[in-house]
Amino acid sequence: MTPEKIIFIVVALVTLGAALSVVISRNLIHSALWLILALFGIAIFYVLLDAGFFAVIQVIIYIGAIAILFIFAAMLTRRVMQDTGPQSNPNWWLGALIALLLFAGIALILVNWQGFTTSAPELANPSGRISQLGLALVSADQYVLPFELASLLLVAAMIGAIFVAGEKKP
């Protein structure tokens, strides 16, 4: 058993446990904290896969921005976030069934996929990978259209937020 394997198993267990705690924790802030732990675990998986750029972006976007936004929103509500009602509703078996079927489906596809058992190939050109990604995002025959569309969407969202929050002139 190599150290990488041990790290993988420990991180996987922690990530799964944290993800489970996000839904069963009764305190909103604690849920957000568990979510941060789960997202951090995923960032470690990216590191183990030799994708440092995605790991760092995962931390910046999801922990540095989105989780802080969650916590900030929850911070404004000190008393109402203690949830005292029942944690499941009569349809819980349906949700469990769908989740189980989905898991079985994904597992089936993965087991039949030949890449599942072979070890990952070494990635070529480790230092130039980021510039390759950057070029792929702006080259016309690759991902320039999704990239520009996403930017347009974000600008629209930003203008909308400014309009909603801005001072109304009488």
């Binding site: 190599t2 150290p3 440092g52 750029f53 922990i63 540095g64």
Partner: protein, 413 residues
């Protein structure tokens, strides 16, 4: 590689070979060596704080015409050690209604976020914790975790002053991240890489010469990230007691304290690395251990500036702080980023047509960038003069909450 010129790697190699001789596998040896290295860097960071706390208190004393600490050791240099021992003996007080998990997690998060930056700082050409190829982004990511620690501390204390401090922290740290990231992109553009050590390698001309505005913006917004004066309104004594750390006592308060001082030195080291050439200096290429000395000389010069600014500047008001960020630093950083990208591209397009020797190219490039920076500075100053803020709109008159009753007539007469 011999012991005198590069002791750290020499010892690491020797240890690795020793463990390989004992029959350990290569990956296990790498793992153990990284583990030991991480521990050493952490211990070194904390030991350095013992020194910088003394240095800062001494400087503080000099500016205020006091002696500063002068009892323990020569010039009081060991004053911090009794302070540490004393803080260990203090009681941990947890306020009623505090969220225990978040309350105890917050100091750990805020210290570890600072210490994580040390993992990628290149102390010398060969002495680097980990040469991450996205080092610049890593610095930004780790800063987000520090903000998280402050927010949790403020929220979990069950104290409205703490909560107000945390709100201010969110407003300040999250918004100052914007110009910081934009300013960090300028060295990335100039050095054509995101790794911190590669950026140092690329600085045959220091980036502070090529882009003084980027250095200024990065330095200013980093000071804002540390939350020290003049940006210390998240712990403004006269308004918020001590802000987010009001309820903390004992070692938990000590961790915030150490975290703040370590952060101040870390941003100095980062500025020195990104803009002042890091370990570069005479003979640093041949003798790596000299690079450590150059690195720390530069870092301490920047640290001195950080301390001087902290001592001599009054605290900003919250609207001034936000205006300064959104109406001055962010537009300036955007303009600088766009112009730097354009000018650099144009320079390399035009370059083949100019008769110039190979060794002069970096200096010619630096001159062009410096010229653009000076033009931007002149235009900015002119704009600031033209659109000077004449006055602040007054929203309401301050009202005293408790009004003293009129004294009876017998007292007046």
């Amino acid at each position: 590689m011999n012991f005198l010129s590069d002791p750290i790697n020499f010892i690491a190699n020797w240890l690795g070979n020793l463990m390989l001789g004992w029959g350990a596998s290569q990956s296990l040896v790498t793992f153990i060596l990284k583990f030991i290295g991480a521990g050493l860097v952490g211990v070194f960071g904390f030991s350095l704080v013992i020194f910088t706390i003394w240095l800062e208190r001494k400087l503080y004393g000099r500016i205020q015409d006091r002696l500063g600490p002068n009892r323990v050791g020569p010039y009081g240099i060991f004053q911090t050690i009794p302070d540490i021992i004393k803080i260990f003996t203090k009681e941990y007080i947890t306020p009623v209604g505090a969220d225990k998990v978040a309350y105890n997690l917050a100091p750990i998060l805020s210290v570890s976020a600072v210490l994580l930056i040390w993992a990628i700082l290149p102390f010398a050409k060969t002495i680097v914790g980990t040469d991450v190829n996205v080092g610049v982004l890593y610095v930004v990511a780790v800063g987000g975790i520090g903000a998280l620690g402050i927010i949790l501390a403020g929220w979990s204390s069950n104290n409205k002053y703490s909560l107000l401090g945390a709100f201010r922290a969110v407003a300040q740290i999250v918004s100052y991240e914007v110009p910081m990231v934009l300013a960090l992109l300028v060295p990335v553009l100039l050095g054509r890489t995101m790794g911190i050590n590669s950026l140092v390698n690329a600085q045959s001309v220091w980036f502070v010469i090529m882009s003084p505005i980027a250095a200024f913006i990065f330095f200013t917004s980093s000071i804002a990230e540390t939350g020290r004066a003049p940006f210390d309104l998240l712990e403004a004594e006269s308004e918020l007691v001590a802000g987010y750390q009001t309820e903390y006592s004992g070692l938990k308060f000590g961790m915030f304290y150490v975290g703040e001082f370590l952060h101040a030195f870390t941003i100095s080291a980062l500025t020195a690395t990104l803009f002042l050439g890091g370990w570069r200096g005479p003979w640093a290429e041949q003798i790596p251990i000299l690079g450590v000395i150059w690195f720390f000389i530069k870092a301490f010069i920047v640290y001195f500036a950080v301390v001087l600014i902290r001592i001599s500047m009054p605290r900003l008001r919250i609207d001034q702080m936000l205006n300064f960020n959104w109406k001055f630093l962010t537009p300036l950083a955007l303009v600088l980023l766009i112009l730097t990208a354009l000018v650099d591209k144009l320079f390399f397009v035009v370059l083949p047509g100019i008769p110039i020797t190979e060794t002069l190219i970096p200096w010619a490039r630096a001159g062009v960038h410096l010229l653009i920076n000076i033009i931007i500075i002149l235009i900015t100053v002119q704009l600031l003069k033209t659109y000077r803020i004449k006055g602040v709109r007054v929203v309401g008159e301050p009202r005293p909450v408790a009004v003293a009753p009129e004294p009876p007539a017998s007292v007046i007469s």
